[in-house]
């Protein structure tokens, strides 16, 4: 299945999925539901405060619902995610509708813990399903992120497009060895912002003319943030995966030395192209016999050209035997050779040094022969 999606010559390094405890924030919502359901049951039945709730059976429901919604608001504000509040509101509303539709008003005491446990189990299953929908494929070319239960989302990022790697490991991650790695792309994908706002209002006057004052302040912080299906969320083993991704990014991003190498090779290729053109020009202006021979042959390989070049260098024809154009070509070639030589001197590799020495020797021989 995965192999079909790979590019030509692409190899999988690792296929990962989030750690079961990496979605603890979502699981904690379910855990709180269970705990609070049991606490309400104990508080209204077995505790010393049970008599307070014996008068009216709705008191239990009010207590359960109010605390649930209050925690929902607080958690939503802390996590800047209103989904938590609406989730708890949905749980409360669902509970209410079940009580009214099934006429379980008399069994509220037992209903609250059982309903909380049942809803939490469903919640755990959904979280698990969501976790299992994630798949991260690390290949030698790119990282593929997949996720989503109903809407399948996918992101692919090549290593040479990764500008920055953000990695984080919480307490649970440190204990169980998982963590989150966010590759931030050059376009800024993977970066988000945390916004905080403070606002207040006051209304002065009651009937027609009212004065409304509003004071506010805002702060925005840019931070690496992404959906769990756009990052390597809660991957295990965190350290190994981080090392692997960093190594792969390192091998795909050219370093300063590599850039210099590429520049140097470009220069060399330019010089060789110019020399080839000059050789062509020189050959075309040589006596007809040789020119005819040259045209009958197929396009010469680079090796053959090199041989030809060296042979012409080794056995130079006296300058006065050619036209003045030939002399110009030879001078240009000399200049190009010099340029090539100086460029090679800047890159003092062992191989290039040997080549330079060989060329020097050949030039000396040529001079001697002339």
């Amino acid at each position: 299945m995965v192999k079909k999606e790979l590019l030509k010559n692409e190899q999988i390094e690792r296929v990962l999925s989030p750690h079961p405890l990496s979605f603890m924030k979502l699981q904690a919502l379910c855990i709180f539901l269970i705990i609070w359901g049991i606490v309400v049951w104990w508080l209204t039945n077995s505790s010393e405060y049970a008599s307070m709730f014996s008068g009216n059976m709705w008191y239990r429901l009010i207590l359960w619902g109010l605390v649930l919604l209050f925690i929902g608001v607080v958690a939503s504000l802390v996590a800047i995610q209103w989904l938590i509040f609406f989730l708890y509101l949905g749980v409360f509303a669902g509970g209410l509708s079940l009580i009214f539709s099934q006429h379980w008003e008399k069994d509220i005491a037992l209903f609250i813990p059982l309903y909380s446990i049942a809803v939490s189990i469903v919640g755990f299953l959904i979280v698990e399903l969501y976790r299992r929908s994630h798949k991260y494929i690390i290949t030698d070319f790119r990282v593929i992120f997949k996720g989503g239960i109903f809407t399948k989302r996918e992101r692919t990022i090549r290593y040479d497009k990764i500008a920055d790697i953000d990695a984080k490991q919480g307490i649970l991650g440190q204990i169980f060895g998982f963590g989150t790695i966010i590759p931030v792309s050059q376009s800024g994908f993977g970066l988000g912002s945390d916004k905080t706002m403070a606002a207040g209002g006051i209304e002065v006057g009651a009937k027609k003319v009212g004065l409304f004052g509003f004071a506010g302040g805002g702060k925005e912080l840019q931070t690496p943030i992404a959906r769990s299906y756009y990052e390597l969320h809660g991957v295990y083993p965190y350290k190994d995966v981080k090392q692997l991704v960093e190594n792969l990014v390192q091998t795909h991003v050219p370093t300063q030395y590599q850039k210099e190498q590429v520049e140097f090779e470009k220069q060399q290729v330019d010089i060789q192209k110019q020399m080839r053109d000059l050789l062509h020009k020189q050959i075309s202006e040589k006596p007809r016999k040789k020119a005819v021979k040259q045209t009958t042959e197929e396009e010469p390989d680079e090796e053959e050209r090199e041989e030809e070049k060296t042979s012409t260098e080794k056995n130079p024809v006296p300058e006065d035997a050619y036209q003045p154009e030939q002399v110009d070509i030879q001078q240009q070639m000399k200049e190009l050779l010099k340029k090539q030589k100086t460029a090679r001197v800047i890159q003092p590799d062992e191989d290039t040094e040997d080549e330079i020495e060989e060329e020097d020797e050949s030039e000396q021989e040529r001079k001697e022969s002339t």
Partner: protein, 359 residues
């Protein structure tokens, strides 16, 4: 003002008695910590995550103690960092002399007493009984020591009776029980791991403390002098204060010992289940919960006295029994090795198999 007889027993012996008592309990605490360390070390290979968790709690408390030291000495806290492997607190101002010594004392002694102090504070609210100070009648070494021990025994009685009668259907009791376990795994100021094995020894802790005390003998003399002045003041004004102060320190040690003792069955259960095959090892943990619930529900319909403690007893016995049975009949493969066994090969290079050849 009380009349005090002028003799050595009253003026020196009575002062020494509670200090010796605290020292004795602290050494006892050290031994229990050492036992826990050894138990955790034996679990380390199979339960790395669990050991990392206990390390984290231990390091957290140690770092909190260090931070407290810097706060008390008004050095300020520049950075506070806690991870599974290390904790780091940087002071804003580097203090020298007595303040530096006090800050270091917090780091060395704090982890033995401060987490236990938190548990003691929580038990004040949950247990609420047993915090009684008995005033010595006579000012002698024996009387003073008896008063100190009596204070501790009253507290220990209440604490143990709470644990025996703990109601696991009560969320507050369950919460407190988990707090006890949490602190029990954290009252251990050392790191469990293969890399720093030499540093988890009781001797290492004691050596550090000895070095710290020997380095500045003048400070020790000053502390002894202050304690003696405190003793003399309380002797003439209210002798209960002196013994009471050391009794609180003794309660901390005693609390630490009890929470450490509470963690032993948990560690023993984890270690025992390692002997059981993969899928069967969950059975003892299920038995632990199910047996208690069944017993409690049963006693709701057939009420008896001491139903909570009997339910606890049923839970412990049934879990132990099930574990023993599973170890006997569903024991894990003993030949399983930590590293993969290589294929054994014959001299000709072919794989050795158990199947007999047809020829």
């Amino acid at each position: 003002m009380a009349t005090v007889p002028l003799n050595v027993d009253s003026l020196i012996g009575a002062a020494l008695a509670p200090i010796l008592g605290v020292a004795a309990f602290w050494f006892l605490q050290l031994i229990f910590i050492e036992i826990q360390k050894r138990m955790l070390l034996s679990l380390h290979h199979r339960h790395e995550a669990f050991c990392r968790f206990t390390n984290y709690i231990g390091i957290l408390f140690q770092t909190i103690c260090q931070a407290l030291g810097y706060t008390v000495t008004r050095s300020g806290i520049a950075s506070f960092q806690v991870t599974v492997n290390y904790g780091e607190v940087q002071p804003k101002k580097e203090k020298t002399g007595v303040l530096d010594w006090i800050a270091r004392s917090f780091l060395l002694f704090g982890p033995f007493f401060i987490p236990a102090g938190f548990v003691l504070l929580a038990s004040c609210f949950i247990i609420g009984k047993g915090f009684v100070f008995q005033t010595p009648v006579h000012y002698t070494f024996v009387e003073s020591l008896t008063g100190f021990v009596a204070n501790l025994s009253t507290f220990a009685n209440e604490f143990v009776s709470f644990l025996i009668n703990i109601d696991l259907f009560n969320p507050i009791h369950v919460g407190f029980f988990f707090v006890l376990l949490f602190f029990g795994f954290g009252i251990r100021p050392s790191y469990i791991g293969e890399e720093r094995k030499e540093k988890i020894d009781i001797l290492h802790d004691l050596m550090l403390i000895k070095d710290h005390l020997v380095k500045k003998p003048l400070y020790i003399i000053a502390i002894v002098f202050i304690i003696y002045v405190f003793f003399l003041l309380s002797l003439f004004l209210n002798p209960m204060v002196y013994v009471g102060f050391f009794s609180i320190v003794g309660w901390m040690s005693l609390t630490a010992i009890m929470v450490l003792l509470l963690t032993y069955p948990v560690l023993l259960l984890i270690k025992s289940t390692d002997e059981i095959r993969t899928h069967w090892k969950i059975i003892p943990f299920i038995t632990l919960v199910v047996s208690y619930v069944i017993a409690r529900v049963l006693f709701i319909y057939y009420p008896i006295k001491q139903d909570e403690s009997i339910s606890l007893l049923i839970m412990i016995l049934s879990t132990a029994l099930i574990t023993i049975i599973l170890i006997k009949y569903k024991r894990t493969n003993r030949f399983k090795t930590a590293s993969k066994m290589k294929h054994t090969r014959n001299a000709d290079g072919k794989k050795r198999t158990s199947k007999k050849r047809a020829d």
